[in-house]
């Protein structure tokens, strides 16, 4: 069983991922935006994160930048594996410069990828990290 944090401003997408992950026996926390996600991280780092990019208050890009800053003080935050769900409105170069450069980044998924496939990726990461 792993702890997974889902960060997305669309409740329907959050619920879908939560349901599928919980159904497979994982513990799921959700956050509506980057700010809420950072708050949630204060209660302990999850094993995996699923991030949306465009969200109100704090976007996925801003959140990862801030997370990098906080990791300097709290090393536990430094290496949380995460995947990014991308829409069509983003420049690949911009995404790469923020996400791919940060530690913990696993891969991009196009938005509306079935949660099962994202979960498969998470399990692969756990296996590689020896969990």
């Amino acid at each position: 069983m792993a702890k997974i944090l889902i960060v997305d401003d669309e409740p329907a997408i959050r619920e879908l991922f939560k349901y599928v992950f919980e159904d497979s026996g994982h513990e799921v926390a959700t956050a509506n935006n980057g700010l809420e996600a950072l708050d949630a991280l204060q209660n302990g780092a999850p094993d995996f994160m699923v991030l949306d990019i465009s969200m109100p208050e704090m976007s996925g890009t801003e959140m990862i930048t801030e997370l990098g800053r906080r990791a300097a003080r709290d090393p536990r935050l430094g290496n949380i594996p995460y995947v990014v769900m991308t829409g069509e409105n983003f420049m690949e170069s911009e995404l790469n410069s923020v996400f791919a450069a940060a530690s913990g980044f696993v891969c991009f998924f196009p938005k509306m990828t079935p949660p099962e496939r994202v979960l498969e990726k998470a399990l692969e990461v756990f296996k590689n990290r020896g969990q």
Partner: protein, 462 residues
Amino acid sequence: MRTTLRLHLIILAASLPPILVLLACVPGFKPGYTYAFLIAAAAAVFSAFFSARAILSGMVLPVAKVSSGVRNFIAADYRLEAVIPKQGWPEAKDLISGLNRLMLELSAYRAFHLNQVVEDRAKAQALIETITDGVMLVDDRGQLIYSNQKALNLLCIPKQEPNIALPGCVRQQDFLAALTDIMSSQENNIKAEVEVKSQDETYSIVKNFQVIARQFSLATLKRPGRIIVLRDVTVEKEIESARETLFHMITHDMRAPLTSIQGYAQLMRKSVGASPAAEKGLDIILRSSIRLSGMIEDILNTIKLEHGDMKLSPVVINAGDLCARVFEVHEPLAARKNIKFSLFTPSEKTEFSGDIGLLERVITNLVGNSLKFTPSRGNVALSCRRAGGEVVFSVEDNGPGIPKGKHAEIFKKYAQLDEHKFMGFGLGLAMCKMAVELHKGRIWIESEEGKGSTFAFAVPVK
């Protein structure tokens, strides 16, 4: 609960037959059997009750939850308020889990697509409201489907007006006339110029607009609608007219000194007992000044033809003589370029009525072009003939030819093939077309790239 009662009765009915069979098999009825029978019947009722309870909570109630859950999901417009709690036997739990997954996916998809539609619409709206042209979409009956604020302002249509239809709702009179024509036309692509007069307190302002209408199809429209663009071309028009005025002024003022050059060169050739070298120089001065005055003539003609100011001075023209004159002027040039230049005129007298000065410029331009682009040792032939009610003039060469796609374009003003950039004004052929059309004639080109070109025009005899 009807389902519960039904289940009880079914299980009871299923457990009673063995008891009855047992009774029927017992020979003679003894009093002790009554108790046995009652106990068996009670056991049957008891087991019916508990099996029904088990089936009910294991399968029937979960199925009932599933169906009410799906009904609520549909009633809430495919938004899942809460997942169906998993309960009952493992098969029922699997069913509920799968269904929850499907409903969650459906509501997520719905949210995703709605967001996308809203975003796409916002993008399109931002673009359309930002551009300075008025833009409208109308259906085949003229009903407005979409427009930007600019278009409504230009046509003086209040935004709150429901069911806006074109041209009926247009309050701006100048646009009303143009749009009435456009909406009644069946053509695919229409361009119209509209002069819009408006009056404020002190000035009356005239603005020029170009109205462009093009057919387009939407999946929801049975027949094609139209996209209509209203473009303010006032500044372009002003620039164009300023350029033309400047052109006109320059060329007009160039004529006088040119006439002096020509006159004095002719005078010198006659009066000065010149040496062969001076003679040659004077010839070049004369030829060049004749060419220059031809060019000036072309510019002035183009401007006059375009503005509709050109008045024809028709006389009876002998087609052969006209060709011979142009031929004679160009012969030395052809000889210098080592081009075989030939003339074919009909043996019988071919006469028609036209403006001799203008038509001479047309033939001069066509011959001049051919001689300019045909390489050394090539052939150029000028001919004229009578064909039906027309006189046809043609200039044929075996030069580089003109690509098929450019045949219509080269008759437009300032049009030049890329490879001929900066080799003249690009006015000649435009002037030829307008001059021939003013004679109620037609002009065309037959050409194949690499094989040569034939420029021809026909004017009616009468």
